[in-house]
């Protein structure tokens, strides 16, 4: 039996207005090389200038993962040649990172909880992008110099489940702290996986293989599974030492394999040394005090949803997995909608109807809250509400307006229902006789007829009561 050993490096882009070392905008999706200046183009004589707002975000992150904050850290140069790195060195923090020795708690299915240790989180500058056409390569340096927080875990994960839980937790933390957009598709939350195997019970760490830049949780799981299989096969075939080497591999989604990108023999010596153009990074008391004041984190919010709002642990987890959804939910409850109903209508009904994100939905929290309240005050039935929600999702219309327009207002007025009941009974005298003679099953038939006659708008509970009385 083998055990999988996994450590993760997550590069998360910090959501500052300007780059890490110059005043260029960090906006995504601009014309190539628009957001550049002498500094981020590394022109002769240009010098970096540290954007201190980054520091605040890094300290908040460190606080969120119970880490040590180094009040004095510094930058280092990491040298390598590549066209997307204009100065041919990356400014990073090797020797003293801003954040060290953190921890993150996950809850795997077969265990109560598990701690994943975070080795460090350091500030560094992102590279630009190389774009390859058929015959030529182009360089876009808009991204060059964007601030990154690289979060490095210890090799503490043993399964793809743990990896996913860790990443989801990490993702929600940076979103809750509002330090990153953490959008995997746009590349603002990038994951490199270090994976090795070993016989169960062995404490030794074997050769680790790095798989780079996989852009969805699903593919991360797939890439690990495929890589582990490759390593186990090599072990069982007796060729582990020859085939499994310390190297960087890329996950090929289409072919479902990992491919060697560069091996250890041509791995660069990065020649790290202290960045002489920048001063040491000092977190002063004022910044420290303000940066450690962090908002409620997912775990605390989840506990509160369970304890104070009576949600199930599962529902609370779903709602708190995303800050926007959690805030949406809380806003509904504040508007007076019941917690459990709000949860169902948000996480099941609305989510199930969305093509894109919740942020972009036409149905905002006040609207969905009102819809829930209309069910709760019996203005409409739950069934009718689904129809109303369909309508709300596709047009900019108010909840009550939609109910009127669709004629779905529930009839709870007993005299109106009595009239319908009497009509149905007199039109079906024969069935009334049979029912009264003992054919109980016919009750359902009468309910159906009444609901049909009311076009579904009669309150089913009232219909039941009145039918029983009249029969």
């Amino acid at each position: 039996m083998f055990e999988t050993v996994i450590g993760l490096e997550v590069h998360t882009q910090l959501n500052t207005q300007t780059k890490l070392f110059c005043s260029c905008a960090t906006s995504f999706d601009q014309r190539a090389n628009l957001n550049t200046c002498p500094v981020c183009l590394a022109l002769p004589g240009a010098l970096p200038r540290f954007n201190r707002s980054v520091l605040h975000k890094a300290v908040s992150f460190g606080t969120a993962v119970d880490a040590t904050i180094n009040r004095v850290s510094h930058f280092d140069r990491k040298s390598y040649f590549y066209p997307d790195s204009p100065s041919a060195y990356q400014i990073t923090q090797l020797y003293t990172p801003i954040v060290e020795h953190g921890r993150l708690e996950i809850e795997p299915k077969d265990a109560d909880s598990k701690i994943i240790r975070i080795n460090r989180a350091h500030i560094e500058a992102d590279a630009g992008k190389n774009i390859h056409d058929d015959s030529r390569s182009k360089v876009d340096l808009n991204r060059a110099g964007t601030p990154l927080l690289e979060i490095v875990s210890e090799p503490d994960m043993r399964s793809t489940e743990e990896v996913t839980l860790y990443l989801k937790k990490l993702h929600s933390i940076v979103r809750y702290l509002d330090i990153s957009d953490a959008n995997m598709q746009e590349g603002s939350f990038r994951v490199d996986v270090n994976v090795s195997i070993r016989p169960k019970g062995d404490d030794k760490l074997y050769t680790r293989v790095e798989i780079k830049n996989i852009n969805s949780f699903k593919f991360i799981t797939k890439a690990i599974e495929i890589e582990v299989e490759r390593q186990i096969d090599a072990w069982e075939d007796g060729v582990y030492d020859e085939v499994i080497v310390q190297e960087t591999r890329l996950f090929d989604q289409a072919a479902q394999v990992t491919r060697s990108m560069r091996g250890k023999e041509d791995s660069a010596d990065y020649r790290y040394f202290l960045e002489p153009d920048l001063l040491k990074v000092v977190v002063d008391d004022e910044m420290y005090e303000s940066a450690i004041e962090i908002p409620e984190l997912p775990d605390a919010k989840r506990a509160r949803f369970i304890d104070e709002l009576g949600l199930s642990p599962y529902d609370a987890s779903v709602l708190t997995s995303d800050l926007y959804m959690a805030n949406y939910f809380e806003s509904m409850v504040e508007d007076g909608a019941g917690a459990k109903m709000s949860c169902v209508w948000l996480s099941v009904e609305l989510q199930g109807r969305l093509d894109s994100s919740l942020e972009e939905s036409l149905v905002d929290a006040p609207k969905l809250a009102l819809l829930v309240k209309r069910i709760e005050d019996k203005t409409i039935s739950a069934k009718a509400a689904k129809e109303v929600l369909d309508h709300l999702c596709s047009s900019k219309i108010g909840v009550d307006e939609a109910i009127d327009k669709l004629g779905l207002k529930q009839i709870s007025d007993s005299s109106a229902i009595e009239a319908i009941v009497n009509d149905v009974l007199s039109a079906n005298q024969d069935k009334v006789e049979q029912y009264r003679a003992g054919k109980d099953k016919l009750f359902g038939f009468f309910v159906g007829q009444v609901m049909k006659a009311s076009k579904g708008s009669a309150n089913p509970q009232s219909v039941n009561e009145i039918l029983k009385r009249e029969l």
Binding site: A42, P44, L47
Partner: protein, 445 residues
């Protein structure tokens, strides 16, 4: 014409001055200027080819930057503009400021105006020769290990290296970031103080610039202050006899002027050389990595990316630059970092502390600038010999101190001899006061 006189000219006077300078440069054989670019109106200042001037081709004396046009001004250029001066002509230099003779320039050698068979010094040899020959009234140079002071001494002018952090490095093509400083090269001490005042001051674009309040030195310039001046007799052993003679003359002049002479000892300069060449080459290796042919400058023909790097850099850099890049890569490579770079920084700390101790006793230290007068062309072709000729200047850079080189004597072959005064960090006022006093005392000697 002195800089302080030129600053009083009206626009027609300045235009006339520029015409005269153009004519001189056009008729000159010195090759002090690479080209006579102009940038705006104002009193003309010659600019070393590693200081960025918007719209100029700024190449650091290198083939690899051929074709590059700077899109921005260095902070010092904006400061010149703001004070009614302007960049006027870019001067020759050792490639990327790596050298002591200006012979490594892509544009060929610059001649020493006092003896055309001798080097003007370097790396700011073009600026020194231009001022010494009257082709410029004043110039800017840069000093990483003596590159302002040594050519000033060889050419018989005043060259001043400010305290590290006094003058913004923003826009100075970097050689060694923790050592580089831009400074004035002028005809006399007062002009140097004037130009220093104009270019110095805190700049938020340079994180290593000193965030201290600006204080003019010219306003308080006082050649009558009595100072304690340290001399270092044991330090003179490595200097040629005529340098030692000039040193004695300067000591006498200072004594006559009423200063107190205090005998001191400095650390063995061999430590300076090691610490300097490790620090400078480590930083230079990374600073010069950006010259890769990808974005700007000269790109060599190649079929693959790797070949593009190799060919562009092999063809674009000269031997001395390659030598220092290799050396820097070596000292930073995995397994050697602690033994070389970290150790060099510790030595640097010791040197700094040593100077700090000296400055508890003295206001200024008098020191040679170079062990000899300007050598003949080719005489420093052995790199190690050239490195050793830096022994008197690099300690100042390692400790981040301000220093000024001024002409003291001429040797038998009529070559100038310069000596330097060194002050405590940020004490430029005392430095200029002492230099003015020495300059005057030498005149009356």
């Amino acid at each position: 014409m002195k800089l302080r006189e030129a600053l009083k000219l009206d626009s027609s006077g300045i235009a006339k001055l520029k015409d005269e300078l153009r004519a001189k440069v056009d008729n000159s054989l010195l090759n002090a200027f690479i080209s006579l670019d102009e940038a705006g109106d104002g009193v003309p200042i010659a600019i070393k080819d590693n200081i960025q001037v918007k719209g100029w081709s700024v190449t650091a004396g290198s083939k690899i930057l051929q074709g590059y046009i700077s899109p921005y001004n260095a902070t010092v250029i904006d400061k010149l503009k703001g004070a009614g001066l302007c960049a006027f002509g870019r001067t020759n230099m050792d490639e990327f400021a790596m050298g002591s003779t200006t012979e490594s320039s892509y544009y060929g050698k610059t001649l020493n105006p006092h003896d055309n068979s001798c080097v003007p010094g370097g790396s700011s040899g073009g600026s020194a020769a231009a001022v010494a020959s009257g082709e410029a009234i004043a110039a800017l140079g840069s000093d990483t290990g003596g590159s302002i002071r040594q050519p000033a001494a060889y050419c018989g002018i005043v060259g001043m290296k400010p305290t590290y952090g006094r003058v913004s490095r923003y826009g100075l093509g970097a050689y060694a970031s923790s050592l580089d400083q831009i400074g004035p090269m002028t005809q006399d001490v007062e002009d140097a103080a004037l130009l220093y005042d104009i270019i110095s001051g805190y700049d938020q674009n340079d994180s290593t610039s000193a965030d201290v309040e600006y204080e003019s030195v010219v306003d308080k310039l006082d050649g009558n202050r009595v100072l304690n001046i340290g001399i270092t007799p044991s330090h003179l052993e490595n200097a040629a006899p005529q340098i030692q003679k000039a040193y004695k003359k300067a000591v006498k002049a200072l004594k006559d002027a009423g200063h107190n002479i205090v005998e001191c000892t400095l650390l063995d300069p061999k430590y300076d050389i090691s610490a300097y060449y490790i620090t400078a080459t480590a930083e230079a290796t990374t600073n010069l990595a950006r010259y890769d042919g990808v974005r700007y400058g000269r790109r060599a023909e190649s079929d693959t990316l790797e070949q593009l790097y190799i060919n562009s850099r092999s063809e674009g850099f000269g031997d001395e630059v390659k030598r220092r890049i290799l050396l820097g890569n070596f000292v930073l490579s995995s397994g050697y970092y602690d033994a070389y770079y970290i150790k060099a920084q510790k030595v640097r700390r010791v040197i700094k502390d040593e100077y700090a101790k000296l400055f508890e006793k003295v206001d200024l230290i008098l020191s040679p600038v170079a062990p000899t007068t300007a050598p003949k062309f080719g005489a420093l072709s052995d790199p190690l010999q050239m490195y050793l000729s830096d022994i008197y200047t690099i300690g100042v850079n390692l400790a981040g101190l301000p220093a000024i080189s001024l002409p003291v004597n001429k040797d038998e072959d009529t070559l100038p001899i310069g000596l330097q005064l060194i002050a405590a960090p940020y004490d430029e006022q005392t430095l200029f006061d002492g230099a003015l006093s020495l300059e005057r005392a030498l005149e009356t000697l």
